[in-house]
Symmetry: D5
Subunit: 118 residues, 10 copies
């Protein structure tokens, strides 16, 4: 398994923190490796969140997603971990991450994880 | 009617039991036999669950689904039974199984079964 | 208008009465006659129900649906009547019937009727 | 602007007034004139209602819809007015009318109006 | 960055203020500039609102949308600002604006903002 | 099996016989009976033709299609026969009939027949 | 039946007559009247042509299409006539007009007419 | 690997042998076994042919397709073999068989085989 | 009307000039101005070509497409001109450009232009 | 840029070399790196070929496709190279490879390459 690359998620100040609103991002280009077989896995990520003081910076998110390219990751664990990283970086009021993995063994798997902030 | 094959559902430890989250699996390759006519029946299964301590292992699920290939099964009974087996193996907080059967006699049948855990 | 054919709806014992679950049936081949003009009408029926002690038998349902082929029927009345027949035969915990009629006079009509059991 | 044609909406007795149920009608052939420019406007109407004692008669509805062909009408006003006419004719328990107007100035407009009866 | 053009949103009197109803507008031709790179951004706007005393005039809305063509704007800020302008002009009972931005860096972004009036 | 009803196909004069052009008709409401089992069969017909001196009259075509409602017919034979009837009535320069039958025994059948006139 | 309104089709000079190229126009808002019943008919027109010296001017085409609103017209005749008018106005190298009429009597009709110029 | 079951394809007399015409059949319920792994494979078959003196009988075709359920078969070989069997049974003027296999190893495979008769 | 910005199309050496092959590019973000009204026009461009010695460089193409943002342009003329620019820059064996313009006056316009090289 | 991994394409004997037939494979999980920026690129590959004496082995093809994961590659060059490798391994009668690359800079690129064998 590859060593884990350094990864940081940059943020910017929420321009309208006085209002609850929703940001959704569709990221079809996630790939990592299966920890058992070393085979590539592919997924489309859907992120939805209500920012508090910070928003996720787009280019930084793209680089963060790329950083998993050489990393081994189980479906359930990796989805929880990405949510945790995004929550840690932005401290959102609400955040949901849905990962639609490509078919393996004739089965399509989706993992959906939510965080409810203050 | 064929004798029932041995079948086991393997599980693995839920990597994030402290959080309620959702796993969905689409399994388009279910086939069994009609108990009345012996004719093959086909279905697409949709599984959705919130794991507690255990998650369903993907390869084991694939083999479990294949194990019905030579077994006679009514639509309503088989859907309930598969849910029961999956609940027994994983003791989930919530589980729903939806089986979309192919058309028979000009009629498409879907059976949807839920389990609500503790 | 034709005389009404004999029709019976056969049922079988619900294999899992201890659990509330849902059965859906899509029946695209319903046809009857317009009572005003004698012209054929066509509809797709969607049935959804939670069985109590009895389930609708598939072949019997197919024959029941065919029995309207030579019968005159208004959209609203026939949808209510089919629901009533299905409720009488199965005494379900919940049942909904939706009839999507083909376009007539440039207008598509859908009638949706529900029964709430005990 | 043309003078307004006589229009009547005929109804028939609800065959099942003892039950709340839903009737939906899709009417893709609505056209009127823009009061500002005299240009034709086009819309698809979706009607949904729970009848009380009276249902809308299909052919009469078709003629009613045609009666707007030479009439000037703003989007918001005409949708409210058609709902009012239909409510006056049938006194429904519930009625919703949705008018999807064709694109004008690069913008698609939809107006959705509801009536809640007794 | 370009200087901000003058922009006004004209309104007309709500023809049915005694009733809560919904107006939806789909506006696929929004374009502005990225404040960082000066590159064009594109979005489809979906507006939904319940008017109180004033409705948005269609042609004025079209011109308002065009006025952003030479203006630099971040996704989150511009969506909040357009909603604020529309709220100021019409004082609606409810208003929601959803902006679906075209893909940038392999990521599709949507921002959805709501205003709840009196 | 029912006796064959009287059926006639009315035609009208081709308004532009000096030009080869194409008329297509989609007829989703064809139904007949299976000669083996007496069960209803359903099909959508697609007709395409280049008229010579005569065109098919729409209402007459509708009645002709309805006339098969009580008649037993094999898929291959009935499609050829309807084409023959339409050719006999209109003597077209070209005509193609495609019948898309509903699923039977898990198999969807389409029959496509052409006539090349003078 | 209404009297035929004056109608003219304006054209502009083909900016690239030295090259054969194709212009396609989709016009979803055609409506005329049925000569038999006086009922409105609706169609979507698809125009495709290779201009020679003149192109069809867009606004003029819109007004031309509107001019049929109060005119009685059979499907086959009106499609041929519109093609003839467009050919007379532009003398194209090639032109095809396809009119997709809304369903009448359960049947969707399409008429497709071509002109081959010099 | 299982032993090969007896299989026969029944035919009936082509009702219109004097005309070249086309019969298409879509068969979504084909399953066999992978000769390497013993795992189930699934495919949708599309058959298209121009009959000469014999047509394929529908029920017999269904049983023939089922007969492969317990047989090991490579994608390329099985598609050629089914075509050969169908050609041997019907001696058609033309026949094409397309087998769309479900995804294996992240790859969807389709095999398309044709026979050109006399 | 704005002055025309400087624009250049960069190219790179075709890596496989010994083989005829096809490159397609879909460019959904084209916008220019209507020369009559000054209003924005929007189009999706589809480019298809067989390179000879040079291929279009992607980033340069993006900038070239953006350069029309403030330029007045008729549908037919601008499509021919973009093709001419691309042909001049790459001298392709074959090139086709299709511009799908957004609806104006209820009419969708597409212009398709081809160049056949040596 | 990474060093190029060893890669081999295994083949098996064509089971029906006496017949020209077609094999199609859809491979949605291709990823490589942009040689300019080092950023990941993604594509769906469509392969179509008529085998002569050898067919591409499925698992070997999967591994071959994965081998580009860490390699820098321009769209046009990589598509030609993959075709060349597949042709070298199987010497097919005909082969076509189409690579649909994900959007970059707002532009979707497809490269389609053919080989015509003896």
């Amino acid at each position: 398994m590859s060593t884990e690359p350094a990864r940081t998620l940059e943020t910017f100040e929420n321009p309208n923190p006085e209002r609850d609103y929703t940001i959704r991002m569709e990221i079809p280009e996630f790939t990592c490796l299966c920890p058992k077989t070393g085979q590539p896995d592919f997924a489309t990520l859907h992120l939805e969140y209500t920012p508090d003081q910070r928003c996720v910076e787009l280019k930084s998110l793209k680089l963060y997603v790329w950083s998993f390219r050489d990393e081994g990751a189980f479906h359930e664990a990796i989805t929880n971990r990405i949510l945790n990283d995004l929550v840690a970086a932005t401290q959102p009021r609400f955040m949901k991450l849905t990962a639609h993995f490509h078919v393996r063994g004739g089965i399509w798997t989706t993992v959906e994880v939510e965080h409810h902030g203050r």
